[in-house]
Amino acid sequence: MLREKLGTAKCFRTAWGKLITEEEAYTQINRQIAAVCANLFQVMRIFEPSWEKRTEAICEIANMMNMAVAGTPEDQKEYVNMSLYEAFNIPELCEKSSWLGGITGDSGDEWENMAGRVIQFTRDRVEKELDTCPWDIVGSELCNMTTSMFTANFDLASSNGTENEVALNMCQARGCGNKHCRVVAERRDKYGLKKQEWLEHMQQPVDPIHDTPRERMVKEGQCLRNGQYTQAFGEETSLEEAYHWVAQMGWVWSVQFPMMAIRDMAPDEDEFMRVFRIVFATAGKNQFIEPFAKEGLRQHLGVPHSIDDNDGRILGSYIMYMLDVQQVPYEMERWTEDETWIRVKTEDFTARYEMAPLDELVDAYEAQWNGAAKTLVSPEWSCVIDGREDEDMYIKVIRREDPRML
């Protein structure tokens, strides 16, 4: 008997009718947030030439904000009981101490398509190894910053709920060019180790590591391989849930937290924003400077050959694609060869995680997409975002003379 209908899968349609699967979109959003983070870190490097000073600053803020998520100091003491035991199904047979931080760390990694495994999970020692990391382009400051976030995880999981019992080291890092990322937590009392400062978290552990051979490394996280992530105690997160979590929280930890420290590195607000926009505009121009990059995008989105190279809808469709990938709802207002107008609720665009709006995303993307317009379409074209102070804002791709182009 013939099939009466085709199978179905979750996907979205580009402006040109090409279907983008949930898996592709999820892969893209992780890398996109990492790209924004990489641009932001260039801003940081311009304002603070000392690697040590800037790294310490972002470590401090990321740790503080991670702890703040767990509430007041009193709430923090009970955070693992109140939240983790239920949300992560950590059974009561587990001794509440720092090692449980390995569970939250592993979950966060896998939700963000950082593919790897927990090598060891014992009360005295936890070893986590990654084979991939979408954020591996950003640089070692971010690797260090994540150790400060782990520190918060381990603090919250500790027996007193406020200060962990371990020495925590990212002894290898993809962002430093290593084959693996590797975080090892070893109990200080068992291993005779001292409490660490922020910049001391990339030391070698006491016990030997287990190095997974290349033939058994994995290229994708569990959500992509298996459609779900399952942690050691059986709690499952579907690809859909992980994707939605990333679309909110990915921005918070890797962009918003460091942004708070980086703003303070600039001499003033205007200077921060001037440099910020320049960096993102340059990134946008470089996105499509090679002819094959333009060709690749056309193919990816399914832009028909009948659409001329100098048609602003190519950029318009790229922006639509990026909004879909980032799960930002929008409405099309104009879609002609002369202009693209995309209406977006301002809060949807800035507050990916409702509790933590990120207004700088408007500046970042306006500068980046405007830069991209010059190379993806032509210098006749610009991208502007109007109405950012209003409830709705408009992302416009228009022909515009720009005598002071960034």
């Binding site: 059974p91 014992t122 058994r216 994995v218 391989r225």
Partner: protein, 329 residues
Amino acid sequence: MLFRNDERARLDSETIRKSVGWYRWTHDLVEIKGKDASCVLDMIYVSNMLKVAPGRTKYTCMLDEQGEIIDDVIVMHMDEDTYWVSTLYGPRLIPWIESHCQGKDIAMKLITYDWDMYAVQGPDSDKAMDELLDRPIGKMKRFAVAENSIGNIPVYIHRSGFTGENGYEVYCDSKATGQIKEKIAVAVEKAGGREIYTLEVYVRSIPMEKGFALKQDFKHLSPFECGMGWAVDTSKDFIGKEAALARKENPRFRMTGLVFDWESTEDISIWERVYLYGVEVGRCSQAIYGYTVDRNIGFATLRANVPDGAKVTVGPNGSPATVTSKVFC
């Protein structure tokens, strides 16, 4: 993840298999009281709970309306109208029962934080219990629960375990847990045993060798597809019965064991895909190293027509494995 050369994990495993080991093993515990408690539990679980006498316990499972296992538990009949259910999903069990007990005279309470539990497991566990308890354990039957005391501290002793060895579970008031823990450590040491440190050994490696599964291993399976048909009483009613019986006639899957060829399984996570001749035929619910069998082993949910002995590959790198019985030793 466990590896062949992990000497501490190997020692933990050998202690349980050859001597006696102890570890804290507190599960979620739900107390169910009331004159309708037995009837409600009888409707929730596939086994005949009305036959479980006071002082006896029963390993069983509950199904959803599709006939698929949603939790496996031990129900303990503590006294006439009081049951304890030992589960890893207490906060989810209560709403499930609540939604199926309208008009019934029962009261439920999560008592996890009131009772700590320690496992004493291994062939020498009788010796350890004789050292430990104020009154001799005598000829306590498997799946029996009884009051006793340790240094005059009241405890419940449950003869059961998750190791495939002779063993006991000691339930104590959580306020007394420190004293009980110390006394268990001393008694087990006197019996020639020690504390077991490696969670993955006592939660996964040791049970898996004997075919003991966790709830997540039963995903999408009816009891008849995972070797738990023995627990089902088809003469009574229970949630999911009709669908489960249909699955008995036409099973979609079966739960199997896997023995891996390679020396380690770093690329095998929970619920990894399994392929036969390159075609996906199921999922590997987990792989782990078994120190008694000295192999990497796993559980899998495969299409019902994949036979034992089939050579399959698992995961993204094609890790080769052989389909076997889910009881490895």
